[in-house]
């Protein structure tokens, strides 16, 4: 039998509890994260402070260790899932209080391409970092992106492709945004196995993201820059 010390989360001080939640996120413990979230709210914490100090900070640590090869994909998925548990509690409260959001992204695999594991991984990592993600799935023509941008008004548009034949379609989408004079309203990030930075630049994207961990860091930076500029 594994020796598991039961920790009574409600007996911890605020600081201890927040640190424990960072550990629990790292270990992908969804129920514990939900319980911790409730306790902090009951103690009068602002939803936004719970999000930032407990969840986003915890996932930042997860992201670093993923990037450095210390954590692996299944572990990060569990962490992201635990984070989602906390977010489900906080999201309606955050909306009520009008707290600033981390950011919102519309993401989808481009037309002609049916690969979505990597894209889903990016979506989950972003949700894990506190972003709201609208996932359009696979095989998206330009209209799907335009409709979703119109409906959800995100800061970010993410596109994925796994084939050299389908990745040029990203340029079709970006060119359409330019034609409609809405290109500058969004941060456009792209990714997928056959892509590289040069391709991202050539088609007019704001960034190429090599993997899910890089995507999270890049999106955070670009949203911060966009907000600072406005």
């Amino acid at each position: 039998m594994e020796n598991i010390d039961e920790i009574d989360l409600s007996a911890l001080s605020d600081d201890e509890l927040v640190e424990q939640m960072h550990d629990d996120l790292y270990d992908g413990l969804k129920e514990e994260i939900e319980e911790g979230t409730h306790i902090l709210l009951d103690r009068g914490w602002e939803p936004y402070a719970v999000l930032q100090d407990a969840l986003v900070e915890g996932m930042r640590i997860v992201g670093i260790d993923f990037r450095d090869g210390i954590l692996f994909v299944p572990e990060v998925l569990m962490s992201a899932n635990a984070m989602k548990g906390g977010m489900a509690i906080l999201r309606p409260l955050l909306a009520e209080t009008g707290a600033p959001t981390v950011g919102k992204m519309v993401i989808g695999t481009v037309k002609g391409d049916i690969h979505d594991i990597g894209k889903n991984l990016v979506a989950m990592m972003l949700e894990g970092a506190g972003f709201e993600v609208i996932n359009l799935g696979i095989n998206n023509p330009v209209e799907n992106y335009l409709n979703a941008l119109e409906e959800h008004k995100p800061e970010l548009l993410g596109m994925s492709a796994l084939l050299t034949t389908t990745m040029p379609y990203m340029k079709v989408v970006i060119d359409t945004l330019v034609e409609q004079s809405i290109r500058d309203d969004y941060i456009v990030v792209v990714g997928g196995a056959p892509l590289n930075e040069e391709f991202g630049n050539a088609i007019g994207a704001d960034a190429y993201c090599r993997d899910a961990a890089v995507a999270v860091e890049t999106c955070k930076e670009l949203v911060a820059e966009m907000r600072a500029a406005n």
Partner: protein
Amino acid sequence: MTETVLSSPTRTVVIGYEKPFCVIGERINPTGRKLLAAEMALGDYSRVEADALTQVQAGAHMLDVNAGIPLADEPKILAEVVQLVQSLTDVPLVLDSSIVAALDSALAVYKGRPLVNSVTGEEDRLETVLPLVKKYDAAVVAISNDETGISEDPDVRYAVAKKIVERAEDYGIARCDVVVDPLVMPIGAIGLAGRQVFSIVHRLRTELKVNTTCGASNISFGLPNRQGLNAAFLTMAIGAGMTSAITSPLHPEIMTAIMAANVMMGTDRECRTWISKFREPVSDVERGERAGRRNRVRRRRVAL
């Protein structure tokens, strides 16, 4: 008996149920290899040369050749690389591209009978790739997805594979020349990815009676000690009936696992390949009483 016959001008490789597992070297592929991609785009194929030779030396029976570089002239590069690799080695090649024009240009220069990688169950792919395969009398890898994506239901993936095989027959391509790729997903993200493949492969072998292949390294994406997982996956896939894989022959764990699986499947007759690879070398001191027989000439059986 289903046998897929591939060739170069001087060598023939047969993929089949009674044959040792066919190892297709995966390394000549710029996807995720920044340096190789940059060099290939500039027409520098030195790394391709090295990859071709080391993989064949490590025991690859065939080599996959892919030139999927963004913003590059893939039809031109793929044809050049195919010609180069054929000038260096005599193993048959797998011509790997998602661009039909690149497959066409590579098929036009290839000497022998290659394996084309790949066609999917998507209507426009079926209509463009299959006529090419027929025109050049090649064999083709059939990937079991269609317009709706990659189903997590093995029955759906089997049905897609069946559709492709039947469409190929409509184009005059024999069933034995369609090698089905059941699609290997990262097990770190999809916990049942292994079982899905084993179950589809078993059906492909017993019901559809086709040969099978896969991109084996996908299974371990995002996990540590990838070669350990790849080796276990290949062993189990071979047990389920898989007959070839695109993988890295440069890792001893993988090649040992495949050789052992060949022994288990009875395709390494009398374990000859296994024994000749792993027989402990005998030193002169240990040779002792056998020393007098050292110069005995062994009679050789005719190779199978």
